[in-house]
Amino acid sequence: MEKNISLTLKVWRQNGPKEKGRFETYKLEEVSTGSSFLEMMDILNEQLINEGNEPVAFDHDCREGICGMCSLYINGRPHGPDDDVTTCQLHMRKFKDGETITIEPWRSAGFPVIKDLIVNRNAFDSIIAAGGYTSVSTGGVPDANAIPISKIDADEAMDAASCIGCGACVATCKNGSAMLFVSAKVSHLALLPQGKVEAARRAKNMVAKMDELGFGNCTNTGACEVECPKGISISNIARLNREFLKAKLQD
């Protein structure tokens, strides 16, 4: 059953990209355990505004776990203390009365802080722009049923394509590597005949862009897979490595 709990929040505040950040502590009373984590943040912000203070800036949009906009390190875990959810799907029933919750932005060289809990993830777009597509333009394509695709491959491609681009994998990786994100895209497309045509080239270009943007190397710690809210498997990284190798051999 739902009840109300009181919380102490330690929240990272930072005025701008170049400013120094700090933790601020806030008290919240009477938060319903039925509310979502972001609704709890709304309550905090309403309280801050009423006190004449600036609310905490945080990213969010769909609030149903699909847009990938929300982020947050909550008590040291990306997307907080629940499995297979994004921060917006996390509910306050996961917390105890009187608990202190530490809330920080993604911390990674690839994702500089913009303000408070908001970071810049444009690097992900740049990696997709480097090759994360099939090179077809609008019109003049074959009938959708012209090429049968095994259901197993299609389903596996779908699993890889479920990545929401949130960046938790990077944030949780001690090397700040974007390999899980990149491998999800490479796998999604390489598994389908439409994407296979340029699979090796895609892998090479995307990895080159990832390196250029300052993401770290993958040392197979597997932390990314654990924190990925969409259950993207590290087996995708193996597939990426295979495609990458193919590209190297072709060079």
Binding site: C67, G68, D125, P148, G165, H188
Partner: protein, 645 residues
Amino acid sequence: MKLDSKIPQGPVAEKWSNYKANQKLVNPANKRKLDIIVVGTGLAGASAAASFGEMGFNVKNFTIQDSPRRAHSIAAQGGINAAKNYPNDGDSIHRLFYDTVKGGDYRAREANVHRLAEVSNDIIDQCVAQGVPFAREYGGLLDNRSFGGAQVSRTFYAKGQTGQQLLIGAYQALMRQVNAGTVDLYTRTEIVDIVMVEGKARGVIARDLVTGEFQRHFGHAVVLATGGYGNAFFLSTNAMGSNGSAAIKAYQKGAAFANPCFAQIHPTCIPVHGEFQSKLTLMSESLRNDGRIWVPKKKEDAEAIRAGKLKPTQIAEEDRDYYLERRYPAFGNLVPRDVASRAAKERCDAGFGVGNTGLAVYLDFKSAIERLGEDAIRARYGNLFQMYEKIVDDNPYETPMMIYPAIHYTMGGIWVDYELQTTVPGLFAAGEANFSDHGANRLGASALMQGLADGYFVLPYTIQNYLADDISTPRMTGDEKEFVEAEKAAKDKFEKLLSIKGNRSVDSIHKELGLVMWDFVGMARNKEGLEKAIEKIAAIKKEFYSNLRIPGSGEGMNVELEKASRLADFIEIGDLMARDALHREESCGGHFREEYQTEEGEAQRQDDKFAYAGCWEYQGEDKAPVMHKEELTFEVVKVAQRNYK
């Protein structure tokens, strides 16, 4: 104001071919000289921007999110329609066209809807070529499911994440053009006004949401693909950032706003459960394929459930009222959304609702699980069930889901002609932002179809017909007086909001607006209530401009300031919706006027008086807008009382 719908000559099935055969085109060398601004990166915006880029135009594409991939389209769950007839169950372009006009309760323009049905098949081909992983059968071919309002299976889907996969397809095509240098992408950038030069739309004023700086951008043409305005209700299934500001700016610059009162209430959303609630979560309509909707037959059972003394699983089969199956035997649980929503409200108002508020009904998978097995249900809806469980903390494989209607989609929007051009020359509107194809009610899986139709297959043709006359118009620098003045006006508006320095947060005022909208401009409307709503909205507007508090300044990122400027526009939209609903003295589709219903409580249209699109023209700050009519004529479709019995 002149409303010229520019419907091409010929029989409805040949209009689009005739149009394309006779339209003006722009040759490749000239395309390079032309700039197009696309506002929005949802399905409509991303597909349009990518296609324009591929064609060789120079494109500037804007989004308020940090990445194009996060546009609200990403959240669409159920699927996308097309007239492929792969299942061989009798579908055709004609049938999709017919169903859409009928589903829209005969308030859409035939010619546009027919074109939509014609290009629907191309969309599926395009998406597959992009690598969209649609669901397949073991034979390797595409799978289809059925959706509300149709008796054929024409819906393509990618698990419960169809919008995500379609948007990622369009996003990838877009990023390919960004890489090719044909599209300049502006993320976290909001369009705050449209710049008019000599009566034509020639650019936009943008605000960088990170720095707070204003920018001037020139375009030979401007496309608004900014989505719907359902968030006027505060609580809706839309993403938090979905807004109607660009539409209102267009309206204030002379674009007609059509049928603002046509908003769709979706029958299957997770019920409201507390005052801190920030949004409502949709449970995809596809669930109605296998889920059965019911409430207890006996009031005392409903009361016991509300008091927590009885569980739904304890109610015997014969004590359940599967009211949709009872009232509409032909369509059963698959009646269109407006019908299903009103039926839920009817049962709850009559005292049979469940949940602790009494504002909920059950969506039960028991028979489907018995018939198909839990695994089959998990394969179909696993992610939706998981989503439900995370929010409600209840296992829908065991206990029926609770659902209730919520605001979901806006059929109304910026008026456009056949070319998707607004009444402002050079200003186009696509996707949910326009009013084009769904009349008074949209069928499930048709918004994704429309957004991608507009962006991939309609605008790339029609915009050329406009731009062909512009090939010798030189680019402007943005220093022209029209740009400078528009920027100043936009800055002043933001300054004004910051200077109010009152006591109330944006959200607190927005919630107040939302309640008025839900109570008086929601699922059931009447004259008295709507008049009251107009007064109340005026009072809210006054409160907003005298008592708003925005901490911080206009420099750097200021989320409250962003929200405030959007709320200012939602207030205008709320007023417009109420006025439109008041004037439309009939019930049709999503617009239900209590005064106009049959004895059985079904919507009653007044075709002799209201077979038109109501198009509102702005008259200036605080002046009542003027309504113009685009009369609708039906050459092919036989107008009849919708009957889903």
